[in-house]
């Protein structure tokens, strides 16, 4: 796709995400008519419908969109960094690395302000990813090695998380819902809390697009072009964890979005790393917004966690990728 087409595509995807978010304003435990929703959206009047739209459904849709965009960019960066098409914050252990210490802080250090959670998540995510990468030789070993390394790191962390939950007793119900990944009851404060991290991740990726583009070459070629791998590899890894650190305290682990969005973006064949990042981010936002609307409307009056929906969508994509032998980044063949 030419840059103009890419721009158009991003616009269309964002529009679709907004449409989904609008649809999300209508559905839920109480269904609103489009007319009512639009009326209270433009002129909030403090009545039930208005509160429903402004304090419950709108921030929630925004949180979903921002979270999706962040996860997608994180997945894009991890896939590029490792030249491994199966990389994603979930598979590489980044998500559980962020989630496990947050659970521990929530349980053992209840006085700690949640404002610190993203930093704790960042540290945990970077640490877990580092372990995974060390095991798989900088992530550039075989795809299997990275995936299995990450999965075992995740299994390890989730065993500990389950144990901590087990000891918490009554609180475990709410923690568990958070662990399933979702946006139920997320408010404006959550959106504001998450936004800086998402923006930092997306903007950082766009700013560093030239460097990131070079990672797609082999290490030799990148070094030959003057890229200091020893400096940029850890930096890009941290950049990849930043949006996850923002999403994890708010929504818990939302699986497979970081895997699927960049692949769909690459299928559209945009020209240039910047466009790929933009397309991934907007697709991620669209996927999670749609998944969130589904999660609210499938089992009214109950809610399903978004994590289930994205896992059920993303799992088959993962299997498809493996089946088709797309074990290298799109465009290359092995």
């Amino acid at each position: 796709m030419s840059p103009r087409q890419s721009f158009l595509a991003i616009g269309l995807i964002v529009a679709a995400a907004m449409l989904a978010a609008m649809l999300g304003l209508l559905v839920g435990a109480k269904t609103l008519s489009a007319e009512t929703a639009l009326r209270v959206l433009l002129a909030p009047d403090g009545k039930l419908e208005s509160v429903l739209v402004w304090t419950l459904r709108l921030p929630r849709s925004l949180a979903a969109a921002a979270g999706g965009a962040g996860l997608a960019v994180s997945g894009y960066l991890l896939q590029t960094l490792t030249r491994n098409p199966l990389a994603d914050p979930g598979i590489t252990g980044v998500t559980s690395g962020a989630v496990a210490p947050i659970v521990c802080c929530f349980v053992y250090l209840p006085w700690l302000s949640p404002a610190y959670y993203p930093f704790i998540g960042l540290a945990g995510g970077v640490l877990a990813a580092s372990v995974t990468f060390c095991v798989s030789r900088g992530g550039q070993g075989r795809p299997l090695q990275l995936a299995l390394g990450g999965v075992s790191v995740s299994l390890f962390l989730s065993a500990i998380t389950t144990y901590v939950l087990l000891l918490t007793g009554p609180q475990s119900a709410s923690l568990l819902f958070w662990l399933a990944g979702g946006f139920q009851g997320r408010s404006w404060s959550h959106v504001l809390y998450m936004l800086p991290w998402t923006i930092a991740g997306v903007a950082g990726a766009l700013l560093l697009r030239r460097v990131i583009g070079m990672f797609m070459l082999s290490d030799h070629a990148a070094a030959g072009m003057g890229l200091q791998l020893g400096l940029w590899k850890p930096l890009v890894l941290i950049l990849a964890v930043i949006p996850v650190a923002g999403v994890a305290p708010v929504a818990g682990p939302v699986a497979f979005v970081g895997l699927a969005a960049p692949h769909i973006a690459r299928l559209l064949k945009p020209r240039g790393t910047g466009w790929e990042i933009g397309l991934s981010a907007s697709l991620g936002a669209l996927i999670v917004t749609v998944a969130d609307v589904f999660a609210r409307s499938i089992a009214i009056p109950r809610e399903l966690p978004v994590g289930i929906i994205t896992a059920m969508l993303g799992g088959p994509i993962f299997i498809y990728l493996v089946q088709r032998g797309r074990l290298s980044l799109a465009g290359e063949t092995r």
Binding site: G141, Q145, A147, V153, F156, A159, L165, L179, F318, V322
Partner: protein, 345 residues
């Protein structure tokens, strides 16, 4: 598969067998004699020979022994399942918890628990009041289903170890997400029961659990002589195996079913105890060298010992809030797995 220099048969393996036997007996004895309740050694001995106080008898016969028995059986199930999976997929990293079998069983047990709590016994809040006897069967259904998915993928993917494992990982992740979601959405007051089981625990396991695992153990072990020869050939790739006159697809399926049945029934009884199926076969092969028969036998013995010993460690370390065996095996298993990953690939 990494096979170290082969141990010559005869005296060396006999010595090792004796050493291991002593180790096994010592660990199992430790599991009986040690525990959170401090019972003097003499009293335990008295209980075992038919005497002892009523309280000591209760602790030994109704608490420690049944959980050790359940642990032994579950350990055999997991390690044997891992051994079989590793052999047929020719993948040193195969394990019920990495290939989605455990997660399949977990999901079906979760559904079963939620259904029973909601439909049959709305009031009950403890595991004891639930029809635990049916849990292994429930686990079996889900584990076999996950095994079926692996089977279908395996043949579509031409039995490539890499791809089968990756698909197993994905299937496992999806099933796990669904299970957690169901618990979060519908678990309400029963979350703690399900969590306790989900972390892989031998806590409060009774003779019933051991008794319900036993038929599966016996069935699995009696299948061993039947699948022994095909198993040896399944180590090689399909062409080699076929040249020995093996019905590759059929034998692959049989071994897969046995393996899934073992893992899934154990998950039903004690929850997913991760990494036992991965680590124990490696340990066994390391000790047995190229001796296939010996490594199979060691897998069975060591599986039992590892779980019983791991449970003892969890009981002693956690004290009143004991650490579930699943956490213990994860903590010990992951460093080993990561080391293996570096070494084997």
């Amino acid at each position: 598969m990494s096979a170290p220099a082969s141990t010559s048969a005869g005296s060396a393996s006999l010595g090792m067998a004796v050493a291991l036997g002593v180790f096994a007996i010592l660990s199992l004895a430790a599991a009986v004699f040690l525990g959170v309740a401090d019972i003097p050694v003499a009293d335990v001995a008295a209980v075992l020979t038919g005497g002892g106080s009523a309280e000591a008898r209760l602790i030994i016969f109704d608490i420690r022994l049944p959980r050790i028995a359940t642990g032994i059986l579950a350990g055999i199930h997991f390690s044997l399942a891992g051994y079989l999976l590793q052999t047929i997929t020719r993948n040193p990293l195969a394990d019920p918890s990495l290939m989605g079998v455990s997660q399949g069983a977990t999901l079906s047990v979760t559904i079963f628990l939620l259904l029973t709590v909601y439909i049959f016994k709305p009031g009950s809040n403890t595991l004891a009041e639930l029809p635990v006897a049916w849990l292994p069967a429930a686990g079996l259904a889900g584990g076999l289903l996950a095994g079926g998915v692996i089977y279908l993928l395996a043949f579509r993917l031409g039995l490539s170890a890499l791809r089968i494992t990756l698909c197993g990982v994905a299937v496992g992740a999806v099933l796990h997400a669904v299970a957690i979601g169901l618990i979060a959405g519908w678990g309400s007051a029963r979350i703690e029961i399900i969590l306790e089981w989900l972390s892989g625990s031998l806590y409060a396991r009774s003779w019933d659990h051991a008794l319900f695992l036993l038929p599966f153990t016996i069935a699995g072990l009696t299948m061993l002589p039947v699948i022994y020869r095909p198993l040896m050939l399944l180590q090689f790739d399909a062409a080699v195996a076929r040249s020995f006159g093996l019905g590759y697809r059929r034998q692959f399926s049989i071994v897969l079913i046995v393996s899934c049945a073992l893992a899934a029934s154990a998950v039903g009884a004690v929850g997913p105890i991760v990494f036992v199926g991965l680590i124990v076969p490696h340990l066994a092969r390391f000790l047995a060298g190229r001796n296939f028969r010996l490594s199979l036998a060691l897998t069975i013995v060591l599986g039992a010992v590892v779980v019983a010993l791991g449970d003892l460690i969890g009981r002693l370390l956690g004290h009143a809030e004991e650490i579930p065996i699943g956490v213990v095996t994860a903590v010990f298993g992951v460093p080993l797995l990561l080391a293996l990953l570096r070494k084997t690939m």
